[in-house]
């Protein structure tokens, strides 16, 4: 049996458990940066293209905020929070592989001025809820690949 896989799922942010997006609020500016988590990226494969809505666009949690093309599929990107787009990461739009290489850092997608952060945050996973969710998602991922590799998590 292969070694269990480990994914980096840092505890310092919130996760949309369905769409595998993370959200991290800057306490000073109040803005929220969002990106794709490592488990979601594993399911997608290497990214080739990303398009996201323009700055000043109003977005609603769960609605499409863009589209990406990865090795395994094209998919809509569902906004994890409600608010207004205030910045787009131009580096990843020109070179989406940055997302695969550094999903929680240089690979961020958008900055959003949230309009209902408390309510949206309550809908996402954080703190001690992250590890069990990540383990379950890794198990699902392993079940889809040829041969079980065992569940694991590097949540934290």
């Amino acid at each position: 049996m292969s070694e269990p896989r480990a994914f980096n799922v840092p505890r310092d942010r919130y996760y949309d458990g369905t769409h595998h997006l993370w959200a991290m609020r800057d306490e000073t500016s109040g803005r929220v940066r969002i990106g794709i988590d490592a488990i979601g990226l594993e399911a997608l494969g290497e990214l080739a293209y990303v398009a996201v809505d323009k700055v000043d666009a109003l977005i609603a949690r769960g609605a499409s905020v863009g589209t990406l093309e990865a090795a395994k599929m094209t998919t809509s990107i569902a906004a994890p929070i409600t608010g207004t787009i205030v910045a787009r990461n131009k580096d990843v739009l020109a070179d989406p592989r940055l997302i695969n290489e550094d999903p929680y850092g240089a690979g961020w997608l958008l900055e959003i001025e949230p309009s209902m952060w408390s309510a949206d945050a309550a809908e996402m996973l954080s703190g001690d809820a992250i590890a069990p969710w990540a383990n379950a998602e890794i198990e699902k991922l392993d079940a889809e690949t040829e041969g079980p590799r065992g569940a694991s998590s590097a949540a934290g």
Binding site: A43, A48, K72, T74, K90, L93, A94, P96, K140, T145
Partner: protein, 358 residues
């Protein structure tokens, strides 16, 4: 829930694509039944992948003079020529049906089984191709809608007018010679060339429908027809959708490596740091199937030395050949480096086109 079968022929590019995307959305929302759509386009249309740059992939003047529609798929990959002899296969299922990868394997298996019924032994190659003896017979792609609905697309070749395809897709050649045309033809397999010139589209479609376990055709209801019309008008008839630009730059590069066994000449077309297509030539001796297989595996591969080397070493053997894998790796990597550092005019996925990505 049982699968509904929709059949139509002579679809316009905008109508065919709008129907497939509408189905994915509505099936994801649980308001339409999972559906298999087996159809052909009216002659002819060229469909680029979700993010491709139309002007780099297609000779728009050639399309206009031949009255060929141009549109953009929701699925990824390369530009494809569609018409009466290319079967469009679209399967829309809800998220609950399973994981996308697992469903893709099932989708590909059913297409392979349909081909097997016709006596064709196709294998899954690379990310999303079906190939026969190294030649591509179908390209597959997946789109996941915001609703969670999954759309599986395939273009299955009953036949293909290679000359027309080479005329309307952009290639690195100022003029396509007979030799290049022959090589491209060998990279493509069709049901008619493999089995019988007399096989009809309806026969092929029946085999596919049977393989998916459906035989009776259904139809759209009024709400679905309205939703298709709305999406067709708002998206697929909108020039802004068709001609949208990506921030990922296209580029192209070429490199030759001289070895005692001959010259290896490689051209690559790139999207950012991803290889869109590779063209391997030279005066060395090698099994044509090996070259075709490698070109197929290099498509939509991250342009990294390790990934390239792994694909070359997986396919390239010296049986009857005169050039070793190291020289081929060097040539491909040099072409990639040129494309990134000294890019020449970009062109499209001109060899064995298809939705082999995403």
């Amino acid at each position: 829930m049982p699968l509904r079968l929709l059949v139509d022929d002579g679809a316009s590019a905008s109508a065919g694509l709008a129907l497939d995307e509408t189905l994915a959305s509505r099936v994801g929302e649980g308001i339409s039944a999972p559906t298999l759509h087996l159809y052909t386009y009216r002659p002819h249309c060229v469909l680029v992948g979700r993010f491709q740059e139309v002007s780099h992939e297609i000779d728009l003047e050639a399309c206009a003079s031949a009255n060929i529609d141009v549109n953009r798929r929701p699925t990824g990959g390369g530009a494809i020529l569609m018409g009466p002899a290319q079967l469009g296969v679209a399967l829309a299922v809800p998220r609950e049906s399973g994981g996308a990868r697992e469903l893709m394997r099932s989708f590909a298996y059913k297409l392979r089984r349909a081909l097997a019924d016709l006596g064709i032994n196709a294998v899954f190659r690379g990310k999303n191709d079906l190939a026969v003896n190294g030649a591509k017979i179908a390209g597959l792609g997946i789109h996941r809608d915001i609703s969670g609905g999954l759309l599986f697309h395939a273009s299955l070749l009953l036949d293909l007018d290679v000359q027309l395809m080479m005329r309307v897709l952009r290639t690195p050649f100022a003029r396509v010679s007979r030799r290049e045309m022959d090589i491209v033809s060998r990279r493509i397999a069709t049901v008619r060339t493999l089995v019988d010139e007399e096989v009809t589209m309806n026969e092929l479609r029946e085999h596919v429908a049977h393989s998916f376990g459906v035989d009776r055709t259904g139809e759209l209801d009024a709400d679905e027809r309205q939703a298709v019309a709305t999406l067709e008008f708002s998206r697929y008839r909108d020039a802004a959708w068709v001609h949208q630009r990506s921030d990922v730059p296209d580029s192209a590069g070429r490199a030759t490596v001289r070895t005692p066994g001959g010259i290896v000449d490689v051209r690559v077309a790139m999207a950012g740091r991803t290889i869109k297509t590779a063209w391997i030539r030279g005066d060395f001796f090698a099994d044509d199937r090996t070259v075709a297989e490698l070109e197929g595996l290099l498509r939509w591969l991250p342009a990294e030395r390790d990934a390239i080397a792994a694909m070359v070493r997986r396919t390239w053997t010296l049986e009857g050949g005169t050039v070793d894998a190291t020289a081929v790796i060097e040539a491909v990597c040099s072409a990639v480096a040129r494309a990134i550092n000294e890019p020449s005019s970009p062109y499209g996925c001109f060899v064995a086109p298809g939705s082999s990505h995403g």
